[in-house]
Each structure stands twice: as structure tokens, then as C-alpha cells.
């Protein structure tokens, strides 16, 4: 067990070092992430002014801005830039061979690499995040949630990270069959944009789309954590939501394992 922990710690440490190599790109990427929230504030201020209403689908303008701030946090956990395309590229150019030759688990390795990716991001981004939330504190009309809600929120964020990771790595592993997954990834990103709640709060959706949302895991990537923080999901509904989210994580871990096992059997060792 100690040997396992030491191995994973070394992988994590080296991934962290690698992430810190390109400082300029990293700094720019971190800061640019905050730009969309400014446009969201202006957009919803304009929409409410034009509508002449104080509420749309149960949300005030402040609620909307608070929601978008929280989905920004959710997506900082669940988005996995270049994961799927990176796996497919490694399959196509043969770099995946090293995971087949060396006594190391590829999915575990990629997960640790992504944890390192996120840790480095949070280590730098917490300050601008804190500043943005401080400047926007007036939009959170209900203040801080209760400690148990906060704990559920953190849990849902961690599971959002795992869900995002296993969804994208599964798409990447489709590369064992199709080699090129960019179109598939585009479709996924499109669905993700709508059904994760990134574009608007999902409880605004009419039937039958609200049912569709319940049947797929995408809401747990952005909407669900934000809704938990805002107190829109509480009590037994919250427990059930967390259980379903955990269920999706487990199902996707299994799907990843099956896809990898079948994929490497089919793999042709491309690229010399």
C-alpha cells in the first residue's frame, strides 16, 4: 500500500512540475477564465431591463449572476481541456504504448495528471476567484449556506471533477475504434453547454427537456453543485442527488475500464 501511495505521489509531483513549466500560457489561461462572468452580468442586466420584470422563471438578476458565478466554480472542477483529444492523439500516434509496456495504470495516471493540473490551477486561481466573489458578494442575497449544505456542495464539486474526467476519458478512448474523435467531442461539448446548466439554470427548462436532463449525467457537471449552494436542492432531494451523482461516477469508472480493456485488445500499435 505504501509503495502504491509513493508511486501516485511521485506521479502527482512530476505532473505538478510539468504544469509549472509554461508559466505565461498558464497565467493567461487562469486570468481569461474570469472574462465571461463580466459579460454575463451585463447580459442579464440588459435582459431584465428590456423585460421590465424583476423575476424570470423564479430568478432575479442577482440570482442569475450568483448562479453563473457558481457554475464558473463548478466548471473549474468539471471541465477537462484537451483530455479526450489528448487520449485519442496518443492512440493515433502510438504514444499510448508506454502505458501498455510499463507497469502503470493509464486511467489512474491520467487522473493524477488531471488532479495536478487542477491543483496548480486552484493554487493560483483562488486569489482572483476570491476577489471576484468579494466584488460580487451583493448578488448572493441569502449569504453563506449552512455547514451541511456547504459540505454537500464540496462533495458535489469533487464528484463533478470525477464525472467530467471519466466522461471525457471515455470519449478519448473511443479513439481505439475511430482514431479521430474531434467531431464526437464537438457534439459532447454542445450537449454539455446546454444540459450541464452552463448556459442557463436547468430548472427553467420546460417538459420534456427537464426529464431529459434527469436521464443524463451532464447536470452534475455545473448545475447541480450550483443549485446545492443556492439551496435549491435540499433534504432528501439533496441526498438522492448526491447518490445519483456518485452512481454516475461509478458507472463511468466501470465504462472506462471496459472501454480500455476492449480498446487495447483491438489496438494495432500505430505509429511504428
Amino acid at each position: 500500500m505504501t509503495a502504491h501511495i509513493l508511486t501516485w505521489w511521485t506521479i502527482l509531483r512530476i505532473c505538478l512540475e510539468e504544469r509549472l513549466v509554461y508559466r505565461g500560457d498558464f497565467a493567461l489561461g487562469t486570468l481569461m477564465r474570469f472574462m465571461p462572468i463580466v459579460t454575463q452580468i451585463f447580459l442579464w442586466t440588459a435582459i431584465f431591463a428590456a423585460a421590465g420584470q424583476t423575476e424570470i422563471a423564479g430568478y432575479t438578476r442577482d440570482n442569475f449572476v450568483a448562479y453563473y458565478l457558481l457554475t464558473m466554480v463548478s466548471r473549474a472542477f468539471s471541465s477537462m481541456p484537451s483530455l479526450a483529444s489528448g487520449i485519442a492523439l496518443q492512440i493515433r500516434n502510438g504514444e499510448i504504448k508506454k502505458f501498455l509496456i510499463q507497469p502503470i495504470d493509464m486511467i489512474g495516471f491520467l487522473l493524477l495528471s488531471r488532479i495536478a493540473h487542477k491543483l496548480v490551477y486552484y493554487a493560483v486561481a483562488w486569489a482572483p476567484f476570491a476577489l471576484v466573489f468579494f466584488l460580487c458578494r451583493s448578488f448572493f442575497t441569502h449569504g453563506w449556506p449552512a455547514p451541511e449544505i456547504l459540505a454537500a456542495y464540496v462533495g458535489s464539486l469533487v464528484m463533478a471533477f470525477l464525472l467530467g474526467f471519466f466522461l471525457e476519458s471515455l470519449i478519448g478512448m473511443i479513439g481505439f475504434w475511430f482514431l479521430e474523435v474531434s467531431s464526437l467531442l464537438f457534439v459532447y461539448m454542445l450537449f454539455n453547454f446546454f444540459f450541464s446548466g452552463h448556459m442557463f439554470p436547468l430548472d427553467m427548462l420546460p417538459a420534456p427537456w427537464d426529464t431529459v436532463v434527469q436521464l443524463i449525467p451532464l447536470q452534475y457537471l455545473a448545475y447541480f453543485p450550483a443549485a446545492v449552494f443556492l439551496g435549491k436542492i435540499q433534504g432528501p432531494e439533496l441526498v438522492q442527488g448526491l447518490c445519483v451523482q456518485a452512481g454516475w461516477v461509478i458507472a463511468l469508472i466501470v465504462a472506462n475500464r471496459v472501454a480500455f480493456a476492449c480498446g487495447v485488445r483491438r489496438y494495432s500499435g500505430y505509429g511504428g
Partner: protein, 349 residues
Amino acid sequence: MSLIQLDGLAKSYTIYQKQEGLKASLAGLFSREYRTVEAVRGIDLQVEQGEFVAFLGPNGAGKTTTLKLLSGVITPTAGTAKVLGFVPWRRENAYRRRFALVMGQKNQLWWDLPAQESFRLHQQIYRIDAQSFAATRDELVDLLDVRGLLTQPVRELSLGERMKMELIAALLHSPEVLFLDEPTIGLDVVAQHNIQKFLKHYQEFRKITILLTSHYMKDIAALCRRVVVIAKGQIVYDGSLSGIIDQFSSHKVLTLQFANDTMPSDLARYGDVLEIAEPKVTLKVDRNVIADVLSAVLANHTLEDVSVEDPPLEEVIAEVFSQSQSSSPSAAAGAGQGGQETISDVSSA
């Protein structure tokens, strides 16, 4: 049982045959023609512990595919293989800790970090205790003379330096079997020589088993006593390097130096004239009649010097390769896998 045992090992691929042009590309959306590439066709081979074996063959002969099968990267279509008692494509960690694969055209180190970080990672992945790790790393670093490069990012190393680091990373866990796929490809002669020297020393000292593919005859001549020639996915020769000449060369090279301007004009009756530089002539003579030709020359002419030699090894091997290529319609197949191709299937996409 041998350390490496292959029985009827075969691997075939089905590859989409893309026709030229936009029209064919559009047609390919509805119906595609596939061909079966038989990269390896029933190889039987035994390699004993401590052997240094070279795989020789033209591009697309099936050498790299065989190494991929033995290292568990791909699964065979038919046949069996055991390396160190393991079936490679089951990819058991117990097996993966006992062999290494180095590919001259593939980088397994972390591109943006110094090589020592990749070494540290290998220490953990292969569970090498700290003392053995330090001792092995220092030994390899000194042998390959790269101590000053350990802290330099891999992307900033030259190709030769990078290959040395790849070898160190591959050998840190002291593998019992090492697969080398063109380890000196693209290197200059000095770097090639250094790698050869290192491999020779390391193999003799550690007595590990090495399977090497290379297109550089100097690599093979310097390192391997045993050569396996693969063509069209099959073994066509298994023996010593010099034995290739005996088996595949049909002629000898006869060089005659005539005395006192007595060089005859009808040299063609003795064999094919390769070069004339009076008073010297070089002839290609069928090895079955070399004794008769030599007797006739000595009886009819006054010579100052005479020599009978085997043709250069490179020439014989090139001949073997070209024979194997011309007897088959196959060309190098896509995706780096070679072998004999047959159009076998037309199906809708």
C-alpha cells in the same frame, strides 16, 4: 524451455484502402474497400537466456510488429508466445517489470522535464529500492557519459543524448529482456558507435537477452552473433551473420591484376565484369564454378595478384531484401505495420 518461445505467431490487420481524389473520398463515405495485411505469418522462434539477436528485414517485413507482440503492445491473430514464462499480451505487471522496450522513433521520457525526473518516476513505477536505483542510475549515467545533462529538459537534448536517456530509463529496473527497435536511427556515426559500445558492454556484463531491429549493418555486425532475417512476415534465415553470405550469395568477387600489359579483351568469358582499372579487373563469378574459372585464368594468363572474396554483406542482404520484395506485391503497409497484403473484403461503412 527457452526464455523466448514463439510458435506459429501471426498478426494481420484490416486496413481501409483509400483511393486517390475527392470523388473516391465521397464514395468512401458509403462503401469502403479493406485489405488484410498479414504483418507476421506464423513465426516460430526460440531465444535462449543471454542471447543478443538481431532482426533484419526490409521495411514492412514484420520486425517491429514482432517486437510489439513480444512486448504486449498488440494481440496476435494466431499462435502463441511466451517470454520469461509469461504471455506478453496479458500485460501482467510481473512481466512488465522484467522487460523493457526502446523504440528509436518514440520518446517515453517527459518532454518538458529533465530526464532525472522521468528516472525518478520509473523508480516508483518499477518499485526499485532507493539504493539499487541510485547505483544503477549512476552506473548507466557514467557509462553513457551524460551526468552533465541530467538537469536539462529532454526537449533540449540532441537526438543522440535523448536516446542515451531513453536507454537509461529502460534499464533502470534491470530488465532481463530488452527489445530494441532501431535504437540508432537518425544518429550520427559517433553517437551510433557510442550506443553500440554501451549495448555491447552492458549485454556482456549483465548477460541479459536482447532482441534488436536495425537497418544499420554496423550495429548488427558489432553486437549480434545471431541474425534472424524476416521477409514478408516469415523467418527466411536464422543463424550467424556470415552464414547469410553462404546461404544467399550466389557469387564471389574475383579480382585479377595482370602482369606486363597482358590483360585480355575477352574477360566476359570468366564472369560478369564489375570494374576495369587496367591492369586490374574485378569479376563477379558464380560460386559453383569459381575453382574452374581460377584454374583457367592461371593457366592462360600471367598474373601479378589475385584475390577471391565474398561480396559485401550489405550487398547480399540488399539482394535478399529485394528478392523478397519482388516476389510479393506487398509494399509497406499503413500505420507502420508491414507485411503481405491481399484485397480480401469489400464492405459498407
